[in-house]
Symmetry: C2
Subunit: 455 residues, 2 copies
Amino acid sequence: MQGTRDYNPKQMAIREKVFNTITRCFKRHGAETIDTPVFELKETLTGKYGEDSKLIYDLKDQGGELLSLRYDLTVPFARYLAMNKITNIKRYHIAKVYRRDNPAMTRGRYREFYQCDFDIAGQYDAMIPDAECLKIVHEILSELELGDFRIKVNDRRILDGMFAVCGVPDDKFRTICSTVDKLDKMPWEDVKKEMVNEKGLSEEAADQIGEYVSLQGGMDLAERLLLDPRMSQSKQACAGLSDIKLLFSYMQLFQLTDRVVFDLSLARGLDYYTGVIYEAVLTQAGVAPVSSDAPNRAEESVSVGSVAGGGRYDGLVGMFDPKGRKVPCVGVSIGIERIFSIMEQKAEASAEKVRTTEVQVLVASAQKNLLEERLRLVTELWNAGIKAEVMYKKNPKLLSQLQFCEETGIPLVAILGEQELKDGVVKLRVVATREEVDISQSDLIGEIKRRTSEA
Amino acid sequence: MQGTRDYNPKQMAIREKVFNTITRCFKRHGAETIDTPVFELKETLTGKYGEDSKLIYDLKDQGGELLSLRYDLTVPFARYLAMNKITNIKRYHIAKVYRRDNPAMTRGRYREFYQCDFDIAGQYDAMIPDAECLKIVHEILSELELGDFRIKVNDRRILDGMFAVCGVPDDKFRTICSTVDKLDKMPWEDVKKEMVNEKGLSEEAADQIGEYVSLQGGMDLAERLLLDPRMSQSKQACAGLSDIKLLFSYMQLFQLTDRVVFDLSLARGLDYYTGVIYEAVLTQAGVAPVSSDAPNRAEESVSVGSVAGGGRYDGLVGMFDPKGRKVPCVGVSIGIERIFSIMEQKAEASAEKVRTTEVQVLVASAQKNLLEERLRLVTELWNAGIKAEVMYKKNPKLLSQLQFCEETGIPLVAILGEQELKDGVVKLRVVATREEVDISQSDLIGEIKRRTSEA
């Protein structure tokens, strides 16, 4: 099917490793996990994704409720909080979401893909949970060893304030914002053209926006903008800038400012963000393919490497509460498919073979008519918790049993023969070195555990 | 939404434990894992599920391919094998499937539910992989401590042979088989009525079937039936009976015959089975609710407790291969939702609180204005791999920090105060015993690891 894929055992082994790293990090930060159905009532998803709503998969009306496949994990999370009247939770959710997008599989974009979300819901002191979300991005990207990365931060209130002081009419904020969002895919000249020609913005306003969105910096930039004669006229912008300052002070304590940049061009498309927003991009050369239509733009290669994003959405839960009660939320989503692609490329480039099972030992026989003895021994091993296999043949050849181990990476072979059975021993063979030792049946389990303890 | 549910953190903690047990068992037996998309081409699912095909969820035709949500994991597995020309694999797959059934949530039946499948594909010597599937059921049900259970086995060829010798016309085999399948929900009299009145079988044929389907036993029953004057006239039945004998001999070596019964009433609904079939049921009193319309039938309470099932399906992969090349398969599906329900009931009945996080320590403060110090310390702990939390408040009260630990089961609190900071120590408090010790900052990480090593 278009835009979907099966994962084979090798891909699954890589995927499991990545999920384990991410889950470990989420748990290190005290997150619980929840799960929601793969489909939601259609009305739950309506009006949450702006122009992208056309990408939602609907189920056929077979009688009963109208259902759609989930588009992300954030809206179901908000629906879950409102429905259960939960006002405080730190949760992660790793699951598939669905978008009827034009698949670009070489760049790791699919119609069915995983999201790994971590969110903190609750009324807390400003910027502490927000900073923890960024700490999590930093930890995960560092631990996965994907190469250099940068985390861009901005604030929706700064964008809105900027639009206001640059003379954008109120009703054009969202549409101009989604044009700014394209800055990571198009040069400023094209973005400006879209603002002026398609969205009817004045050239003067566009130029003023152009000046701001080229700015990048740290806490110092936030301080400078708080003194900017135009920007400081917007209360909203000032609130956002003060929070960016506070965020940087917490990020310093969390030891992650080396990777973070305050970037006024960061917009992010989704409607529901209300405060801080952020996005992590891989910056290492060679990781991100540069598209042929913009070969000279550094930002292009950066943007393709986007691997995490998120922000604050204080209004979303209220949309699902009958009384409109708000639950402030902040969260981050790890772009796991992009990370899988990179890890797969790495695995292919490396000489090391990816094992797809964890089997410690194959129970083999050197002679014919030993099936019963093999089944008896493998039962003993299974009952003792050893990962073991036996070939499903009455009389397999020893050579083919040894080859099976080589192919699948099984490190040990327990070989039964008539002499061994008479002596009450098993010949334990180390596949890599071909070393063989006779071991009494009673010592076998301990010996296998000892020799495969690091596996 | 009807027939679906959110899993809350407590349910997820139980679910994770069950999944871990099952995955560990699958891996112990050397299985790889794969994943397939949640939807398949509609045509892939068509004609695979007999009368139940009406329960398939279709996606809306939004242009492009016609898609349906997967109904089980077996058909996608067969499609995967044919598509990738795989002739040998031992794989497990844990994922959700979808059925537009009448939900019976109290009995653990949902429209969205998990399946945990283990299958062995490949041309092997008879009954060895089949016996391993049953060994896996035995291991999982034993390890989960769900109480007594029984595994019923039968063979489609025995059923078909029995139908033939009892005078059922060829074209009525499948429909009579699905009536026999209802024996775990209805008494024989009603099943017979359906055969005669609805399906037009002769009363004589029905009575002959009735004699056979009341039989239960072990290897001895298979031997007896091989000598049965009527049954032994069917080549098919004899092939099935010989394989049941062989299966029992392997199950003896695998040490599981104490739980297994050869039961001629076991039919299983799905069209694709071609050989051995099996089903595991919980037999412990109190576990399975007895329905009010048949209060006196022991089989009723047994059937509601069905927790695993499977069998051999040698023709399914060939249906997806352009040249019809067959790949023999045998597998088992663990009925995980039923198991969740039981584990949840157990958890509720038990005094022990289910923890939903694994946090080892809360970084707390005894005085005001120590947020920076708390953030610095929790960063050190995270960087050292400790699972740690900090409350998202500038000045939380010590009491509320301690209460948070009690509520969530965090065993340790690292308390910072001005005196401690001056002395370069942290006060480590054990929540359960209220014991407090001063520990130097440099020893803290080791001490936390030591005290929570069993967690």
